[in-house]
Every structure is written in C-alpha cells, then in structure tokens.
Symmetry: C2
Subunit: 378 residues, 2 copies
C-alpha cells in the first residue's frame, strides 16, 4: 500500500442543464480537474465513473469519448448517495495498490430531467418499509429527527438553524445551486415536508459533476510541492438487517465509518478543521455531529445553538453550503465534497475559507446501505 | 502488489427464475462459493456486485441482507457485458493491493422479466449508430462477421459450426441454460437474425448468477494446497472513437487486452489449455480466435473447420457451452467464465474436462466499451 494524494479537482456549478447530457457534464468536470492538476488525459492510467440513475449507461466511457480515449481501464460504480465517494475511493484503491500512479474519479448526476424522486433503493414493494412508504427519504430522515427530539429534547428550531447556517455559507460559493440566505423564520414557516423538516431543510434536486485526480507520491513530486494527502478512505455497509422505522442505520453506518477513518489516519475529531457531511436533510446534519464525534451523545442541539459549526466556529461544517443549498446531484456529491476540502486545504476557499485549515473530513451516506468517510490533510 | 488466488466459486443454473429477484439469485451463487471455499460470510472482507440492468438498486447490499451483513465495504459496478468480469477484477484489485486478504465478487442478471433488449449502451438517439439502429447487438456482430467474410473468404457454414460445437459442449454442462445438440443443418436453416447469424448463432436471454472468492497467498494456505492463481487481470477500453460500422473496436479492444494479459502472465496463446471467450454471436467467437492469438489473421475459419477449438482439439474454446448455449445473463457471464476455468483447472470438468488443464483464459467484451482478459493457472 502506497500513500495517495489528490493532485487536481474540478467541478461544475450545480444547477439545471436541460440542454446537456450526463457525459457532457462529467466531461466538463474532468477537464477542470486536468487543468487544475496541470495534466493531460494521456496521463490518466485508470478512470472510475460514479453515476446513479443511468448507472448502466457506460457513462465513464462516454466521458472519455469526449475528452480523449486512450484505452485505459474504465469502470462504472453505483452506491446510492455514496456513488461519487465510492468512485473516489476506488480510484484511491487503484493508486494505493501500486497498480497505477495516476487515476481519475468523476461523479455526475442529472436529476433535472427526472420526475420526482421516490425512495431510491428502499422504494418498491420488496420490503416492509417500501410497502409502508417510509422508504421515502424525507420520511426516513424526518423520523430520525423525531427520534432525536424524543431522546434528547432537541427542538425543531435547532434543526432549522442548520438550514440557516448552510444557506448562509453558500452565499460565498459560486458553484452552489442556491446562493441565498434564509432566516430562521423563513425556514420554520416554509411548507412542511416531513416533520421536523420543512422545504428549506430538504436538499434540492439538480444536475452536477465533480472530478478528482489521485496520484502516488512519486508522481506528486513532479507536479507540486504542496501535497494534499488522503489520510483515510473508508467504506462501510450495514452490520445488520434493520426493520426499525427509526432507521438506526443512519447512525451506526456513520459511526462505524468514522471510527475506522480516525484509526487509519491517526487523527481524531479534535484534529479536524472542517467537515463536509451528508446534510441531505437538516435532521441528518445534526445527527451526524454526534455520529462523527464532533460532540457527545445528545449534545448536537447545543453545538448548533452555540454556532460552533458555522464558519468561524470551532469546527465549521458544510462551509460549501452543503447538500441543503449547494445541492445534491446524487452521483456528484461525494466528489464535490472532496473538491471543497482540497480547495480549503490549499487556502483557496475565498470568502468561505476556514482559516489555517490543515485537516478536513468528507462524509457521505447512502441508504441501502453504504457510508464513506475520507480524511484529507495538507 | 501481492499474488491473488481463487479459493471458491459458485454458480446457479442459467435459465428463467420468474419467482425470484436479482438479489436472491446472487445470494444463491454467493452461498455456493462460500461452501466451495469452506468459508463463512464473516471471512469476506470486501464485496463487489456486478449487475447491469438494475445497476443502481444496491444489489450487492441486498445480497448480503440475505446471507449475512457484517458491515464490510460493498459496492456495485457495471460495464456493459463486461460487468461481471469487472466485478471479479475489482475484487482481485482489493486483494492485490494488500488491502484485503479475502474478497468476493458476484455477477448476476435477471433478463427474463425484461422486454426485448435493444442496443444497450449504443442504443438511443445520441449517436449516429444509435439513430441508424446499427447499435442493436445482432446488427453489430452480423456486420463484423460480414467484414471477415469479405476480407478473408470466411463462409456462413464456418460461423455456423461454432454454434454446433458450443451446443454440443453444453450437453455435458448441467448449469447450461440449454443442453441440446444442434446439427449444422439446424443452425443454417434456422430463422435469420442478422446475416450471417441465424437464431442458433445468437446467445439467448436469461437469468443467472455466479460468484468467486479471491484470497491472498497467506489466506490460501490455510484452506487448500491446490492453488488456482490469477496470473493476469486486464481491463481495457477503446483507444479511439469509432464511427466505423464494421465495428473495429470489437477486435482492437480484445487484441489490446490479450496482449497485456500475455505480458503480465508471461504466458502466450500456445501455453493455454482452454479458453472461455465472449461468443455472444457465432461471428464473435470466430473473430476472437484471431484477436486472442489462437491462430493467425484470417485463419479462424480453418481453425473451426479442423475442429481444433472443440473438446479434444488443440485449444478447446467454450467447453462450458459458451454464451450461445450456456446462456448470457449479462452481469453473470464474466464470473461464470471464471467458474468454468476454476473447475477445469481443478480437474472437476466431468464429461467436458479438458485433460490435464493447467492454464485457462477468460475473455469478455462489453460494447460501449470495456474488455477484460483473465488468465488463471493451476
């Protein structure tokens, strides 16, 4: 196993691209990463594409048809919402193995042309949850929030503050799907989707793409003197079959992945300067404060009240705007998190820069089940 | 990079399973591989699922829900017809990297519940080929055969003999979808699908699943004294964008992959005892004789005439019955090839055993584009 570094990242503005297709969006992000790395497509030795809803359409190969076909190994992965981060991880494994010195991961999704999303992997008539309709994501994460309220006295306002914070962060991110502030009143008064999450506490649908180039230490030295290292790359699945409608796997999946990532990197939550975590719903972000060890059990409500996870706080979370405002084009999300961390660790965060950031964590959860945790260090 | 071995394989009979779903079929094959290896699901450290048509449905995780969830990394891959072999390859990379000592790949597909297949990755209105309808697989491989006839004088009878041979082989394979002999007359008189391929020269649609367990040398020694080694694992994509309706990529993809596999293994075509190659159509098998170096350019017609690729010949091809008779449930095919090689290299081929088999090659091509070549040795 050799050390792995991120040399280049690219990303398109999340939004709607009705005149383009999935491979065009992916190609733009890939070209961005090549430019950022100072590389040609001929330098890439292996390519992984993460896309969920057209997972069988050979999108990895179609992207290369647009930016340069060189005959390298290409494959396509899917893992629910963790699709992009799984692509990043497999590109990481390619370099870590010693098999390749340069690999690329692209995560891409086009949701704008689709109808309303159902419950994804949990929908359909196969499972009790699917039949009852609780497989619908808003219901799942609503219930998870309600359970936190019941256990620890967390309030609807505390969940709503997450949305206020992330929307505020996104104002400084030109690649965010939305770049508008919302007040606590706006969030609380918005249309209820699934208690306690109102409309502004649910991530939007949209199109997007992001790309990352991973390299060995030897290759890195030829291109830069400022390494961004992948200190840990972890993928977990459910350790049991859940038939519990409070969805404990939302928590245990993340807890297991975080534990492994901290062990592998030799870092703990106290060493992190920023976190990009999976705030598909406001309730999810609050729960993951505890799951990732950013605070103790039952203390997440206080953490948001005290502003510690806002830019300028002790441990800024989702300074990119998060899924709630930056957007959540499923396959793109995991690589977009990496894009944000890399730019922050380089000190290129602009108005949303976390001062002196040296270590960041990216977290993605896919129900069905998959969870990734990556720790990057400067 | 450490050496990788196949410790266990499993496979269900290819056919139609209208009362089951994809994950149930995959689970049966996985249990078969565990039994064959003498392992428990708790021994598996990483799991890759290959499935094409429900590629976004988290089938890997669903399989583990049935046979045992342990929290290990699980991800889902797709790569057109090379989906199963890509899953096998990524499981191989996991062990080769030193990251894991035991990984499992499952390839599975359920086509019986689907309507008629179109052109897969090449269909639709995006490309010239798609619009013209030549993206339909029968047309693609018909044209490739016609081009071989034009260039080298190959005859329709020579292509038809491939079907006769593979159907004859399949009589001895209890897991084959069809187990009946067909005469040269039967094949030639069957309904024409796309010249020169008649109905019996096209693979059937069906359901199927196969699984393989890969291990490091250290783990291998704890379980067996008869190693089956993965001497080469290669994945290639198109080195250029083709707009040639004679489909040169059908040939170059395989030629490039074979060249790399021979280099990595240190073996040549003359060292092989058997080959399982991608006979999605009879024309394809004949072309691949040359692409894999089993004979010289333009000599493939003679090779089949002389019976050298039949059981008992110089280099038996598709003794399992091949895709033409064993069947071609897309995601399962690549792992099923490995199943056949492993059993042959163990001397467990029964009535279709290739005497003294010590080295075998498995080849899969996915249009769109992906090609895998694996060489296994006893």
């Amino acid at each position: 196993m050799q050390d792995v570094y991120v040399l280049g990242v690219g990303m398109i503005k999340f939004g709607r691209y009705p005149d383009k297709d999935v491979s065009q969006l992916g190609a733009e992000a890939a070209l961005g990463a090549l430019t950022d790395a100072g590389m040609s497509i001929k330098d890439i030795e292996m390519f992984v594409c993460g896309n969920l809803f057209q997972a069988n359409a050979m999108n990895g190969q179609k992207i290369l048809q647009q930016i340069g076909q060189t005959g390298i190994p290409v494959f396509n992965v899917s893992n629910a919402c963790a699709t992009g981060s799984t692509a990043f991880r497999e590109a990481y494994v390619g370099v870590a193995s010693g098999m390749y010195d340069v690999t690329m991961a692209v995560g891409v999704e086009q949701m704008g042309k689709m109808g309303l999303l159902g419950g994804g992997a949990r929908s359909g008539g196969e499972s009790v949850e699917g039949v009852l309709g609780s497989g619908l994501m808003p219901a799942v994460f609503g219930q998870a929030g309600v359970e936190h309220m019941r256990k620890y006295g967390t309030t609807a306002e505390q969940f709503a503050k997450i949305s206020v914070k992330n929307h505020k962060h996104s104002v400084h991110n030109p690649l965010s799907q939305y770049q508008v502030e919302v007040s606590l009143g706006d969030v609380m008064k918005a249309r209820m989707v699934a208690y306690p999450n109102t409309l502004y506490m649910c991530c939007p649908t949209g199109d997007g793409a992001a790309a990352a180039i991973l390299v060995s230490e030897e290759k890195l030295k030829q291109f830069t003197t400022k390494p961004i290292k992948v200190a840990a790359s972890v993928l977990t699945s459910d350790p049991y079959t859940d038939r519990d409608l409070t969805m404990p796997d939302v928590n245990t999946l993340t807890q297991n992945a975080a534990k492994q990532a901290y062990e592998k990197s030799g870092l703990g939550p106290q060493d992190l300067d920023l976190v990009e975590l999976h705030d598909c719903f406001a309730t999810a972000e609050l729960l993951h404060y505890e799951n990732l060890g950013l605070c103790g059990e039952g203390e997440a409500g206080q953490l948001i009240d005290q502003g510690e996870t806002a830019l300028g706080g002790k441990i800024p979370v989702n300074v990119s705007g998060g899924l709630l405002s930056k957007g959540h084009p499923l396959g793109a999300t995991g690589v977009a998190n990496i894009y944000e961390l890399v730019n922050q660790l380089r000190g290129n965060g602009g108005a949303r820069q976390v001062e002196g950031a040296k270590a960041g964590l990216a977290h993605v959860i896919g129900l069905g089940s998959a969870c990734t945790v990556h720790i990057l260090t400067a």
